[in-house]
Symmetry: C2
Subunit: 150 residues, 2 copies
DNA sequence: ATACAATAATTGTATATACAAATGTAATGT
DNA sequence: ACATTACATTTGTATATACAATTATTGTAT
């Protein structure tokens, strides 16, 4: 990654705290952009892909919206509309829960599973490449430091 | 920050690379949420606030849109519309550049400067608090590790 | 001088983020 | 039984992210 001052065309040095926060933000953008470049040709957003993986993890069992939301990385994204878009692409099905009609049950379809199977290796490779410049020890240390931020 | 498995309600351990990327994402969200909680009562978004600070840094001189964009943390956000919203709030003024009519010049107003003065200490405190659990050495190490990710 | 390319900003479209409000359903209290 | 509260999802609104297409202006080549 470029030096921060060059990146922001600023002459003054920012305080270390702000430098760090901005660097976290920039790193996040880089990672998301990398993953998106894999998903975009398949017309999937990052969160859509994530929801598909969550549903696959249930091995055939359905999940209601809340359960999906709890497992999502970003819990503030709008799960209803996200699932809507996956339904339009036939990657997911929605049925009303008979026991509790407030709930809905969401399944991943065969088509959704196929799409995931197609993407898995590419996404894994992208994720590993993004972190490949760091050793296992460094990755663990990075995790530890980030976890200390609240 | 909570443990990742708890946060995502997953039983299986994710590979370290994915763990790290998700942790970066979650940390980023936490930081943004904290800063937003300061800015929101003043009806400013993070990027709007950032643009105001960039303009203040010019000490009275105007910037055209491209120059603003170059200095922004997120260069992909839509600067035209961002500035539009700041103009509506009278924090910023836009004038046509006479030398090159394709360009526009953007100034921060007195009202904008006052708003920044009001927010500076709060934002600084939030940024410092976010990183206060880390020592200077740890912050530098965190920066170093993040910079290794590309 | 005219055509063509490059530049600067704007506009359009789709999705995500963020949160408030509304809707419909179920559970609970009296 | 009825009202109230809680629950699960949907809908609405505003902004940001991301990128393509368009418009207007300027620069350049022949």
């Amino acid at each position: 990654m470029k030096k921060l001052n060059e990146r922001l065309k600023t002459k003054v040095d920012l305080p270390l705290s702000r430098q760090t926060l901005i660097t976290i933000f920039l790193t996040n953008t880089i990672i998301k952009t990398g993953l998106l470049s894999v998903l975009k040709p398949h017309d999937l957003s990052l969160e859509q892909f994530n929801v598909l993986r969550i549903l696959r993890g249930q091995k055939g069992n359905p999940l209601n919206l809340q359960d999906v939301q709890e497992r999502m990385v970003n819990k503030m994204s709008n799960t209803t509309r996200l699932v809507d878009k996956l339904i339009l692409k036939n990657f997911v099905k929605r049925t009303e829960c008979k026991k509790n009609r407030r709930k809905i049950e969401i399944y991943i379809t065969k088509l959704g599973l196929d799409k995931l199977a197609e993407l898995d290796s590419k996404v894994d490779a992208t994720e590993e490449k993004a972190t490949s410049k760091l050793t296992t020890i460094e990755l663990k240390e990075l995790n530890r430091l980030l976890h200390k931020i609240q």
